[in-house]
């Protein structure tokens, strides 16, 4: 048993559950989006994801590390088709964990969290525009953004605590004080 992994899964499930409640996001919204995605054949999925990835790659400041790491556009398209397939698959099980794993996969290939959220934003709105299901698009977007960003911060806090010995609670307090100064 991998305790650390299960702790991460359990934490992200809690956050995803709370976020869904706040947003009033029910299973039907996921189902609508999954049905829209499943109605596409592989070529259409590649074309749609390709459109989103291309627009992202036009912004060098967003994906500078990604380019430096040498990932091709074709690789990224395949990668994100797989991520969306996993997210939308009928047997995909827990959506929160799927989004978390998708985020891990994106982070592991040098995609910044802001680029990740942008990409999911582009994809959800493209799917909604082309295939309908717009009613839940905004809620789904909000939920993905929350799960991705909280998942990212969870990893980052763990890394920080190990690398610098910095307590995440202390960082949060510093952040509150510093933000007060910024405003």
């Amino acid at each position: 048993m991998d305790e650390e992994l299960y702790k991460n899964f359990s934490e992200i499930k809690r956050i995803g559950g709370e976020a869904a409640l706040v947003l009033g996001l029910d299973d039907d919204v996921f189902k609508d989006f999954a049905e829209a995605w499943a109605s596409l054949d592989l070529e259409e999925k590649r074309r749609l994801v390709g459109e989103a990835v291309s627009s992202l790659l036009e912004a060098p400041s967003v994906v500078v590390t990604l380019k430096r790491a040498g990932f091709s556009e074709e690789f990224l398209v395949e990668h994100f088709v797989e991520v969306l397939d996993a997210l939308c698959g009928e047997d995909s099980g827990d959506k929160v964990v799927k989004v978390f794993l998708g985020s891990l996969a994106a982070l592991s290939i040098s995609l910044e969290v802001s680029a990740m959220i942008l990409l999911i934003g582009v994809l959800v709105t493209l799917v909604a525009e082309r295939l309908g299901g717009a009613a839940g698009a905004a809620r789904l977007l909000g939920w993905c953004g929350c799960v991705m960003s909280e998942g990212y911060l969870m990893l980052r806090d763990t890394v920080l605590a190990r690398a610098g010995g910095v307590d995440p609670v202390l960082v949060k307090r510093f952040l509150e004080v510093y933000s007060g100064g910024c405003g």
Binding site: N8, V62, L118, G121, V122, A137, A138
Partner: protein, 195 residues
């Protein structure tokens, strides 16, 4: 985004954010029309309806202690309405700076990044659904724009704090997060693969 570590000069930060929002706007295909529709959706509501929306969102958010922490005392429907007014009724680059200022204000009150995103998402998705029809997608695009600006703003502030507090540079931290993500992915594949 460049200059993540330097928040000494607020004008520079504002300029950076304006550049960032233009990039994001191009990627998402957000137009002035989308912003206008959001503004209209908000201003078309009566004061009662605005109070109802902000009150409902706040009530739900406060029911999520894991996301809100100890900030509940400072958040009121009136404050949310004020923030929405600022977001919905400003334009382009100024809107990015307003979203940034709204974010740092929320962070200073103890709200987590996820909670800030939830707050904005809940408010905008309710507005989108009230507006209905094609307008849902216009507002969804602005929502995605807001998320990107909020996350980038948050990282900007957080990186500045981290560099001071821990001495770990954001670049090193990104590399560590990447390596840790790969490690977790491999472990997840083993665990999930083994059922």
């Amino acid at each position: 985004m460049t200059g993540k570590n330097d928040l000494e000069n607020c004008e520079e930060v504002a300029e950076e954010l304006k550049k960032w929002e233009k990039t994001v706007r191009n990627i998402l295909g957000v137009s002035e029309e989308d912003f206008r529709i959001l503004g209209e959706a908000w201003t078309s509501l009566s004061e009662e309806e605005r109070k109802e929306i902000t009150g409902n969102v706040l009530e739900k958010l406060l029911g999520s202690p894991g996301l809100v922490g100890d900030s509940e005392r400072e958040f009121t429907p009136e404050l949310l309405a004020e923030m929405m007014e600022t977001i919905c009724c400003s334009e382009g680059g100024d809107m990015a700076v307003n979203v940034f200022l709204g974010s740092v204000r929320a962070v200073s009150m103890g709200l987590s990044l996820g909670a800030i995103l939830l707050l904005v998402s809940s408010l905008l998705s309710l507005l989108a659904e009230k507006a209905g029809g094609e307008k849902v997608l216009n507002i969804a695009r602005v929502l995605s724009w807001c998320q990107s600006v909020i996350v980038e703003s948050y990282l900007l502030v957080r990186n500045a704090v981290l560099s001071r507090a821990s001495g770990v540079s954001p670049k090193v931290l990104d590399n560590l997060v990447r390596a840790y993500s790969r490690d977790l992915l491999e472990r997840a594949a083993r665990v999930l693969g083994s059922g």
